[in-house]
C-alpha cells in the first residue's frame, strides 16, 4: 500500500475500515481487494488492431532486392541508410555477390561449385558450396538477390545435409570453373589427430578417487584421465540438466 499518494481507492478503503464489525476485517479486505484489483476487461479492438498491424508488417516485409541493395558510390544501403564497414569496400568493388554469378548461368547454377574469397585467403584446404536449390527474387533488376540451398564442404570435409547458403549477399563469391572442379573435389582432408588425455588436477583427482571408493568399496585401479576435447554443445538446456543431476546427487565427495 503506497501511503501519501493521493488515490481515490485508498480513501474508499479507509472509510470502510472505520466500521466496527467482527467480520468486518475480512469483508473490508475482500471489498478493498475487489476495488484494487479490478477484473481486466478484454480489449477487443486493441487485439484486432494488434493482429492487423502484425499482418501488415508481414505483408510489407522488404524483398531481398530492397534489403540488400547497395549504393556503390557512397557504400550505403538505401534500405537502412547504414554504411558498410571500411575493410569491406575493396571487396565490394572488386568481387561479386553469389546471385550476380548465378543469374548468368543455366538453371541458376544448380550443381556448380562456388568458393568464397575469404575462404581462399584463410584456409589452405578447399572449401566450397555445391548449389542444389535456388529461389531467386524476381523483383530485382538483374536477378541479383535470392536464397540458395546447397551442400557445404568446409576445409575438405563434406557435410551430409543440404543447408541454406549463408552470407549470400556478401561480395565475396567466386565461381569454380569446370576445369578446376576436379582439383578441388580430389582433395583428401588429413585425418583428425587422436584425442589427447591429461591427468586431473590433484584435488579433483582426490575427490574422484574418494567418490569411487565410497561407491564401489575398492580403490580405483587406473588413473582417471581428462580428455582435452569434449563433444558437448554448451547451451541452457545442458546447464539445466547438469544442475538437476547435481541436485539428485548428495553432498560432495572427500
Amino acid at each position: 500500500m503506497v501511503t501519501g499518494w493521493p488515490r481515490k481507492r485508498s480513501h474508499r478503503g479507509c472509510r470502510t475500515l472505520t466500521a466496527v464489525d467482527p467480520g468486518g476485517a475480512t469483508r473490508n479486505v475482500r471489498s478493498r481487494a475487489s476495488v484494487m484489483v479490478k477484473k481486466k476487461q478484454p480489449r477487443l479492438i486493441a487485439e484486432m488492431a494488434r493482429k492487423i498491424r502484425a499482418y501488415r508488417e508481414l505483408k510489407s516485409r522488404p524483398r531481398e532486392s530492397q534489403k540488400y541493395a547497395l549504393d556503390y558510390g557512397t557504400m550505403k544501403r538505401p534500405h537502412t541508410g547504414k554504411m558498410l564497414p571500411v575493410l569491406a569496400w575493396q571487396d565490394v568493388r572488386r568481387e561479386s555477390r553469389l546471385f550476380s554469378l548465378l543469374a548468368g548461368m543455366r538453371l541458376f547454377g544448380v550443381g556448380r561449385l562456388f568458393t568464397r574469397k575469404s575462404w581462399l585467403a584463410d584456409h589452405t584446404e578447399p572449401s566450397y558450396w555445391q548449389i542444389t536449390k535456388v529461389k531467386v527474387d524476381y523483383t530485382s533488376e538483374n536477378m541479383d538477390h535470392g536464397k540458395a540451398w546447397g551442400v557445404l564442404t568446409l576445409k575438405g570435409k563434406q557435410e551430409s545435409e543440404v543447408k541454406e547458403v549463408d552470407k549470400v549477399m556478401y561480395h565475396d563469391w567466386r565461381l569454380v570453373p569446370k576445369h578446376v572442379e576436379q582439383q578441388l573435389k580430389d582433395f583428401e582432408p588429413a585425418p583428425e589427430p587422436p584425442v589427447r588425455y591429461v591427468p586431473y588436477p590433484p584435488l579433483l583427482r582426490a575427490m574422484l578417487l574418494a567418490k569411487h571408493k565410497r561407491a564401489a568399496g575398492s580403490v580405483l585401479a587406473e588413473e582417471p584421465l581428462l580428455p582435452l576435447q569434449r563433444d558437448v554443445l554448451l547451451s541452457k538446456d545442458y546447464f539445466r540438466r547438469q544442475e538437476q543431476e547435481a541436485i539428485k546427487r548428495e553432498g560432495t565427495a572427500v
Binding site: 548468368g104 543455366r106 538453371l107 531467386v136 569446370k178
Partner: protein, 427 residues
Amino acid sequence: MAASIWKRCATAAVKVKCLSASLPARRWLLSSAYTDATVWEAREKDPQNLALLATTMDRTYDRNLPVSSLSVSRFVDNISSREEIDQAEYYLYKFRHSPNCWYLRDWTIHSWIRQCLKYGAKEKALHTVKNKVQYGIFPDDFTFNLLIDFYIKDGDFKSACSVVEEVMLQEAFDLPSTQIVSLYAMSSYQATRPQLAVSEERALGASLLICGLQQDNTVGLSAQLLGNALLGKVEMLEGIHAVFRGMPLFWGHGYLGRALAVMERAAASSGDVRLTKDALDYMNDLLQELSSTSDSDASGAESVGEEEEQEEKEEEEENVKKEDQMDEADQAERAKLPQYVTRFKELSSQLESEGKVDSASFQDSVSALAQQNLAAAEKPDLEQYLSRVQAWEADNRQLIAREKEMRKKAEEEKRERLAAKAAAQQA
C-alpha cells in the same frame, strides 16, 4: 514418321558429304542436314491467336498471378512476322521477371532462336543471348551450333566470336561439334587481325583457353597457348581481378607462366602433338610488347617535362589509382616478366629443335580438323536432337493436358461455389 524423317536426313547428309569432298573451300561448316529446319517444322502445331495470348498474359500479370511457361512457349511457336518477334521479346523479358522464371522450357528457347533466324532477326537473337540475365535465354548445345554456323555462313566472324564467348560463359564446350565450330570462328576472326580492346582480348583469350582444354591435339594446345597468352597480357596490364571477374576462370596468378607450361607439355609429349608457328610468333610479339611497355612506364615515371607536366600529372594520378588496385601479388607478377621472356626463348628453341612447330597457320589447322572430324561429330548430335525433339513434344502434350485438367477443375469448383451461394441465398 520419325523414322522416315531420319532416313531423309541421313541421305541428305550423305549427299552433302560427297559434295563437300569435291569443293575446295567451304563457306559454311555444318552440313545442311544439321541446319535443316524440316524436322523442327514437322512437329505438331498448336495454332493460337497471338493477340488473344498476349491479352491473357497481360491480364494475368496485372492481377499478379503467375504466367505458365506453356503460354510463353505457345506465343514463341506461333510467331509469323518480324513485328511479332519484338512482341515475343517483351513477353520473354516479363516472364523472366516473374516468379516462374525458372520454368522457361528448352524448346521455347530453341524455337525462339529458330524463329529469329527465320525472320531475319539475327541481331535480336544475338542481343537476347548476350543479355541472358534479362531474357533468360540459355540455349543448349545444338542451338548454339546453329547460331554460330549462321554467323559463319554470313562471314560475320565478330558476331560469331561473341556467340562463342556466350558459350564460354556457360562453359558449354561439351560436344566436339561445338568445339570445332567455335575454334573455326575464333581462328577466322584472329586471321583478320582485328584491333581488340582489353575486354575483347580477355573474352577471346578465355574462349580459346576453355575450348582448347577440351581438345588434346595440335589445335587444342595452340588454342590453350594463345588463350593463356592473351589472359596473361590482360593480367599484366590490369591485374588478376580484371581477368577472372565475371568469367569462369581460375583466380590464380601467372597466366603467362601457364602458357609456358603448355609449351613445356608440348615439348615433353611423345605423340604427334605440335604447336602452330603463328601461335608462337603471336606470343613472342606479345611478350616483346609487354616488356617494352613496362620499360617505358619505368622511364616515364622518372622523366618530367616542363610543358607536359599537367599531362604527366594526370597520367601519374591514373597510374597511382591503378596501382592502388594492383596488389603486391600483381606487382610481383609484373616483376617476373623478364624471366618469362627468357624461358619463352628457351622453350621455343627446344620446340624447334624437336620439330614440334607446325608451319601451317592456326586457321588452316582448324579447317583441316573440321574437314576430318566434323561429319563424324555431327551424327550423334543429330540423333540426340531427334530424340530430344520427341521428348519435348511429349512434355508439351503433357503440359497442355495438365492445363486442360486444371481449367476443368477450376470450372467445377466455381460451379460448386455458385451453387452453394445460390442455395445459401434461397435458404
